[in-house]
């Protein structure tokens, strides 16, 4: 009984930790894609934020300044994406890919030059990271059976970015579905001509949506390098941007289903880590490479529409050219 509870608690806590960057990146994608701009550059923006936040935190010793640098770099990339896909009507897939490739090269290059370590930053000291915080009463309630460990290790004991990510979901839902800005943002992604006729500046709307996405990717990347991790490693995002994109599609571009999809991916990953090297009854030990591939296989299966067809925003991926 004790063991089962311990397992549940540690799996739940791990799920929450793994889900955080996915949630933030998926919300970033939601703002961008709801406004009609495809964003496969989530990966690159996260990676850039991870690098610049870690290097800034190392130099200044401040996690918050690191966060600022991470956000700034991700927003800057989002603006380049905007320039290509909004102002110059370029191919949005190609633009996203270009940014991913650019960042994948630039970050290890700069890491090597600035810190003389091949493709990585030195370890960020704890003082310059976002450390787990203990919520009030975590220790006092910790001894209460059942609820105590849950509160102590699942609800409490994460860094501030985890709580921000969770809070970002209702906030994003409110902005997108309860404000005039959100209504217009969604409408721009469905029928930009109608909005243009109504006097709304389509390009400006989309730029703002991308900027919000940049901020969220900045948080996600910062979390990876100075929240969950302690330093930047080459390609440390490892496909999370694409998993987030898949979660967004699977969640039908809606906040709560997307959140659940992120939890599903994160849970798979948490289980994946525990399965490594553990013999399963009747099967034996599954090779670690196969277990690591589970989240990717799951993504393909989910996208294969075994759970229902997703309907994308109507104007997604289409540049808006004002008719004359």
């Amino acid at each position: 009984m004790e063991d089962t509870l311990g397992l549940i608690v540690s799996l739940a806590a791990a799920t929450l930790r793994v889900a955080t960057p996915l949630i933030l990146a998926a919300l970033a994608g939601m703002f961008s894609e709801r406004s009609g701009v495809v964003d496969i550059g989530l990966e690159g923006k996260m990676l850039a934020a991870a690098f610049f936040s870690a290097s800034t935190a190392l130099v200044t010793g401040s996690a918050w300044l690191g966060l600022c640098a991470g956000v700034a770099s991700a927003v800057a990339l989002a603006m380049v994406h905007g320039l290509a896909s909004i102002t110059y009507n370029g191919n949005q897939m190609v633009s996203g890919l270009a940014l991913n490739v650019l960042v994948a090269g630039l970050t290890p290059l700069l890491a090597t030059v600035w810190f003389q370590q091949a493709g990585r930053t030195p370890t960020v000291p704890n003082g310059a990271r976002f450390l787990p915080v203990s919520l009030p009463g975590a220790e006092a309630f910790g001894t209460v059976p059942l609820l105590g460990p849950l509160y102590r290790s699942v609800v409490s004991g994460h860094n501030v970015l985890v709580y921000l990510a969770i809070a970002a979901v209702p906030l994003a839902a409110w902005i997108l579905f309860r404000t005039r800005f959100g209504l217009r943002l969604r409408a721009v992604g469905e029928n930009p001509h109608a909005l243009d006729t109504a006097g709304v500046n389509v390009a400006w709307m989309r730029y703002r949506a991308l900027a919000i996405g940049g901020v969220l990717c900045g948080f996600a990347g910062t979390y990876l390098s100075i929240g969950q991790g302690a330093g930047f490693i080459q390609d440390m995002t490892a496909g999370r941007g694409f998993l987030a994109l898949a979660a967004l599609i699977f969640g039908k571009w809606l906040p709560v289903p997307t959140l659940l999809a992120c939890f599903l991916f994160a849970f798979t990953d948490a289980v994946q880590v525990r399965l490594q090297g553990v013999p399963l009854p009747g099967i034996g030990v599954i090779p670690v490479q196969f277990i690591q591939a589970i989240p990717y296989v799951l993504t393909v299966l989910l996208l294969a529409g075994f759970v229902g067809k997703a309907v994308a925003p109507k104007a997604i991926g289409l540049p808006y050219v004002k008719s004359r």
């Binding site: 496969i40 380049v80 320039l83 290509a84 896909s85 102002t87 110059y88 009507n89 370029g90 191919n91 949005q92 897939m93 190609v94 633009s95 890919l97 270009a98 940014l99 991913n100 490739v101 650019l102 960042v103 994948a104 090269g105 630039l106 290890p108 290059l109 700069l110 090597t112 030059v113 091949a118 493709g119 496909g239 694409f242 994109l245 898949a246 599609i249 090779p287 490479q289 196969f290 690591q292 591939a293 990717y296 296989v297 993504t299 393909v300 996208l303 294969a304 529409g305 067809k309 540049p319 050219v321 004359r324």
Partner: protein
């Protein structure tokens, strides 16, 4: 897609095919120079080293063409999918899995002469690559799963499968590093310097091998298929306007699957160069990003066979020159090549309209 200032900005053919790509690449190189300058090196000196390293002496040219061979094949792979309106980011995984097919043939026909192994290896590579691209293609056509996301996932899955195979199954007995046992020297593709040496022409020693000829033939086949066959016409029709293709009686779903399978087959020829031609064994990550370079090559080459061959040579030169540069100037690591690739994709792909409208205006007034 309409250009920035509306559909009136049509460029003359020569400007669209030569001047615009030249402008785009200049912009990318200029920004790359800025990066070099920012990390405290001299961009002019770096550029000179890069060009010298790429084409400055006979061996360098051989290396450049050796890299170009792989890029021609992955570039054609991306281009054929582009013609069908599909963005195949999975060339990397498709080539990786195809390496398995080529290796199985080379080891299965151990000791047979290369001219017997080569056709079977071509078939195996194409088949394995096509199979790995077939599934994302099928899922796109019949289940609506986005091919960009699925092909990326298939890259990750391919990597896992291949590492497992190399670590657990194919690893040479008594070997520590995860690689297969070497092929028979008789079965591997002859190097170009050996072939040319046999007819009395001396060229520099390099990994350049017979697969360059295979790549060029593939480019020719690609051209004929896309522009001179009914299937190629159907592929282009689906890429231009899916709805119109339906009304024209074209089986859209089947065409999408066909285009993806052919794309995978072309990417699947890449291991002929790297595995059968140079390494003579299967290695972890032998693809080395060639699948992604193929995207840049297809974009730069405007999805045309001749353009792709030229763009592949350019990227081959970039890879070879970049390696030399990294050797001469350790501060500029090989990651710089990836930065330049990213910038080229950005300027010649995503930002292609940046110079189009001003150029059209300029040419009209001139």
């Amino acid at each position: 897609m309409a250009a920035a200032g509306g559909p009136t900005d049509t460029l003359p053919r020569w400007a669209s095919l030569a001047l615009l790509p030249a402008l785009n690449i200049s912009a990318a190189l200029l920004l790359s120079g800025l990066v070099v300058w920012l990390i405290g090196e001299d961009p002019v000196e770096a550029m000179v080293l890069l060009v010298q390293g790429a084409v400055g002496y006979p061996e360098a040219i051989g290396y450049t063409l050796y890299y170009a061979t792989s890029y021609i094949l992955t570039g054609l792979a991306v281009a054929i999918a582009f013609h069908a309106g599909l963005f195949n980011i999975g060339g990397e995984g498709q080539a990786y899995i195809a390496g398995l097919g080529v290796t199985l043939v080379a080891l299965g026909l151990f000791g047979y002469p290369w001219w017997l192994v080569l056709p079977v290896a071509i078939l195996a590579g194409a088949l394995f690559g096509a199979a790995w691209a077939f599934l994302p293609g099928w899922l796109q056509a019949y289940r609506g799963s986005h091919v960009v996301v699925t092909t990326i996932m298939f890259n990750f899955i391919a990597s896992s499968v291949m590492v497992w195979l190399l670590v657990e199954v194919l690893i040479a007995p008594g070997q520590q590093s995860p690689e297969s046992r070497p092929f028979s020297p008789a079965s591997v593709l002859p190097a170009m310097h050996t072939l040319f040496g046999a007819i009395g022409v001396k060229i520099g020693n390099s990994p350049l091998n017979l697969s360059l000829v295979v790549a060029l033939l593939a480019a020719l086949g690609f051209h004929i298929f896309i522009w001179h066959t009914r299937w190629g016409y159907e592929v282009r029709a689906v890429g231009h306007n899916e709805t119109a293709a339906v009304y024209a009686g074209i089986p859209v779903k089947r065409t999408i699957v066909l285009a993806m399978a052919l794309s995978g087959a072309l990417a699947g020829l890449m291991p002929l160069n790297e595995v059968l031609g140079v390494q003579h064994r299967l290695l972890v990550n032998f693809t080395g990003g060639a699948g992604f370079v193929g995207i840049a090559v297809a974009l730069m080459g405007r999805n045309h066979a001749v353009g792709i061959v030229l763009a592949a040579i350019l990227f081959g030169a970039l890879t070879q020159g970049g390696s030399e540069l990294a050797f001469e100037k350790p501060a500029i690591s090989r990651d710089m090549i990836v930065v330049i690739q990213g910038l080229i994709i950005l300027f010649s792909g995503a930002l292609e309209n940046l110079f189009r409208a001003p150029l059209a205006r300029l040419l009209r007034t001139a």
